[in-house]
Subunit: 343 residues, 2 copies
Amino acid sequence: MAPRQKSDRVTIKTVAEDAGVSVSAVSKVLRDAYGVSGPLRERVRASMEKLGYRPHAAARGMRGQTYTLGVILPDIHNPFFTDIMSGVNAALERTQYQTLLGIGQSSLGAQQEVIDAMIDRQMDGIIFIGPRMPPPELDALAAKVPMTIIANHSPTAQAYDTVNNDDFLGATLVVQHLVHAGYRNIAMLSLDLPPIEQLQVTTQRELGYRQAMEDAGLRQYIKVVMSEQTPRAIQAAARQLLRSRGRPEAIFCWTDFVALEVLSVAHELGMKVPGDLGVVGYDNTTYCDLAQNALTSIDQSGQVLGLQSARLLIERIKGRTTAEHFVVTPRLVARNSSQPVAR
Amino acid sequence: MAPRQKSDRVTIKTVAEDAGVSVSAVSKVLRDAYGVSGPLRERVRASMEKLGYRPHAAARGMRGQTYTLGVILPDIHNPFFTDIMSGVNAALERTQYQTLLGIGQSSLGAQQEVIDAMIDRQMDGIIFIGPRMPPPELDALAAKVPMTIIANHSPTAQAYDTVNNDDFLGATLVVQHLVHAGYRNIAMLSLDLPPIEQLQVTTQRELGYRQAMEDAGLRQYIKVVMSEQTPRAIQAAARQLLRSRGRPEAIFCWTDFVALEVLSVAHELGMKVPGDLGVVGYDNTTYCDLAQNALTSIDQSGQVLGLQSARLLIERIKGRTTAEHFVVTPRLVARNSSQPVAR
DNA sequence: CTGAAAGCGCTTACAG
DNA sequence: CTGAAAGCGCTTACAG
């Protein structure tokens, strides 16, 4: 590797010489640390500006912070996660922080690899989205690095913060909406994952669905079908459901991504949505708005979740040790896919 | 910030002591450098394993590599970029490298900020997707850090590698396909960007479109409408186009993302696709396959582009100084949205 | 093949 | 308020 010209690198030493102060003074200005007079600060700032000084991240990371936050996504294809990322980036806009994105893929091994890579790189903190880990492991991780978790319910955790929407309520809203529109045989299409103490958002949505169905006197119609995340698996599950006897009048999908596949299968089977079938998603991603989908969905404000998680994480990095658990109230956005149907 | 327990950190010094060798020897094993005997290597490996040694990235970055590659995306919402990311990640799977993702947003300022953040963090290399920069600036950047560019044509650049599909050919395939299916009045919906020496993929696609239209004797129908990337702007452009006199029989959209919006607008206007309108996209993203879209598109193998770019970049980091310019041949995937129509 | 030592650019007690 | 000095955990010539 070509060694980039070393002689002309501007370091805090260069800046210190130019400003006629000590290296420590420059470091303090850099970190906005206390104990520097206004004039000195100004002099140093001017020199930094003049010389085009840029801090060397690795050197800072040796002793202090790296000013880099790790974000772990379970899956890059779900468009909802891009909403979260927008929020995180927005929160970091005027700060020195940058994000390192890791894709945890489906497998647990890959997830561990990403975590290790982030710890090796001395992330100042980690935003962990949809972790598939039992609480003890999460606690262990949080002991090593400040952490905020999105989309995993552990409201009593002390070692880390959480940011969620109320998934139980979201699912309730879906069922109530569909019942109000005249649907009764309502099935749910959820994610096939080993459940971990009901912490996962899918589990919460399933519980909300079941409870709301009971409350509406539709216990007999309760049906939760699990499927893996691949398009092929989702389509197979949807096809089977739609071809079964007692086939549902409406399907509540745990995420928009899945609902779009259900719309596709219904289309292929020649079923009208709405009319032959009602469909509702979750996350209110940008695809819901397209007229060919017109998908009713739950808005849980991915941007807000991302923004909050970044804020909380920075607070923790700065020293907060008590846990915060932020919950957004979800909101149903009705579109054509769940229109009332005369029966 | 709580200082993580320092005493128990396993460093190369700890490993060296455990293995009974020098610190330099451990460093060499770590880097797979030459000049270490097999037995010594084994002894060190065993100690690293035993102690659970993890290299400290910041310390490595001080003198050597960070083993982190920066990836710059122009826009996180375009699903095509997730395909590229999959490829990049696949190429890095068995390596020590990790990716740092930066979103360059639309504005040039944001793009510069992301680049600075990556240079500050001593990325070993950068994969720059769809840069909006004139060649001199790209050269200047490549002088600072090894770089591979995706989706920007500069086949004579020496300072960096490029990875592309043949956008001119891709556009040609679209026009030929549509003409073959009986469409004649074919418009193109492109991206509103200040053109930079015809380097951008949109420019190449426009050129391919124009040429193919001429070659088909359809010069009179040539029409390229520019629009910004937001859903609102795309919809407005599509609406205007579809309501105009001499409205096109088919629209070629520069990327699937745009084509999905066109399908939406057509749907809203009560137009049938195909029938009243043919639509073709570009990138063959996962949404093309959904039956409600059934969108004909050009497959440029985002995964392959990502994979290649990572490979080339690592080669450059390892010392290659000659430029490589990799070009994928695009392939049209026909679906319902461009079916022949009797006229 | 192996190791002692300098040094990368910062931050952090500590002394003045 | 200000600065001299040690040290973070590696890599890199260099000497043996």
